[in-house]
Assembly symmetry: C2
Homo-oligomer: 195 residues x 2
């Protein structure tokens, strides 16, 4: 998605440790008009998928998922990260390992809001090691719902998550795949643009 790649090149900041900061438009301050374009692009790519629910994970996936949902005309459910139970009743739950925060947390979705008959599209802002996305896919599987695919805004193509998710047979559409970044020169190479 060229608009997104241009925006990442313009406003993204490369930091030590292969960190790409896009918090001026994607995951702290949020450019809602960009989110609308992202939503339309997800809709275009999953036009054949008969999505009837979008599942994301708190916190930074929620805004993108909600705006994208307008293009699909479906509700959104967000999985909660928790170390305490704040939802009464029964939930689907799995553990996710966070490299960023160096700990394991539980993610939960109420059984009321995910189940047989749902055709679920996962949406998230970033895909790096893929643990969060794998956790969401696990919840969908546990619920008996059908996983139709995953839409990611930025995939870090040099980390293992994308390959792992694709190897699980999940249809993955990443709108920008960062193949490499150079902190010193500020250069970002996207997959498909290497030449």
């Amino acid at each position: 998605m060229q608009l997104l790649k241009d925006r990442i090149r313009r406003d993204g900041k490369i930091k030590a440790g292969n960190v790409l900061k896009v918090d001026s438009f994607l995951n702290h301050q949020m450019d809602i008009e960009l989110f609308q374009e992202i939503g339309r692009e997800f809709r275009r790519r999953f036009a054949d998928a008969e999505v009837n629910k979008i599942l994301t994970i708190e916190a930074s996936g929620i805004g993108i998922a909600c705006v994208a949902a307008e293009s699909f005309h479906v509700p959104v459910v967000f999985a909660k990260k928790t170390q305490t139970k704040n939802i009464a009743g029964e939930v689907y739950t799995t553990k996710v390992e966070s490299f960023t925060h160096g700990r394991v947390y539980d993610i939960i979705v109420s059984k009321e809001f995910l189940g047989r008959g749902d055709k679920v599209l996962l949406i998230d802002d970033f895909l790096a090691n893929g643990k969060a996305l794998e956790g969401l896919a696990q919840l969908v599987g546990d619920s008996g719902a059908e996983l139709v695919g995953a839409g990611i805004v930025i995939e870090k193509g040099f980390q293992a998550g994308g390959e792992r998710i694709r190897s699980l047979g999940i249809r993955l559409e990443s709108l920008a795949i960062v193949e490499s970044m150079d902190e010193k020169t500020g250069t970002i190479v996207f997959r498909g643009d290497e030449s």
Copy 2:
């Protein structure tokens, strides 16, 4: 907002301890078409306010804020709840006491995304004791931005938050104010509808 009150009466669940569960459409599963109506209503109520930024707090405020932002044509910033620093650089920060979770946490906003010249509308899903909203107002004040008001989807009128926020001189627009709830009969009385 009649559409919202009707929805709360239909799908809200009253639980012990004055808990109103609206997680089927507001804060776990999210009805995006309802959010669009909510956004238009906030826009109508703050039409004169020249809002140029919306500030909310993770997690359940984000979806409403992002969809509402489409009616205002402004970006959204969400304050992060944190016990670790996950944003590089300088931040505005304050402490918020959570009654639900029985602990104090820090909320932070990067100084890059809030400051002089911003006319900020706060948006959140719930107002009960008002601590989160007060924390957000504090961050706006610290940043030198102008606080134009706060838009709340559901205010618990029988808790102290609304009165406290209004007494601070903050223009508060709550789309549904629950005056009382009865767990046994399932009855909800909204402010203005008592007769």
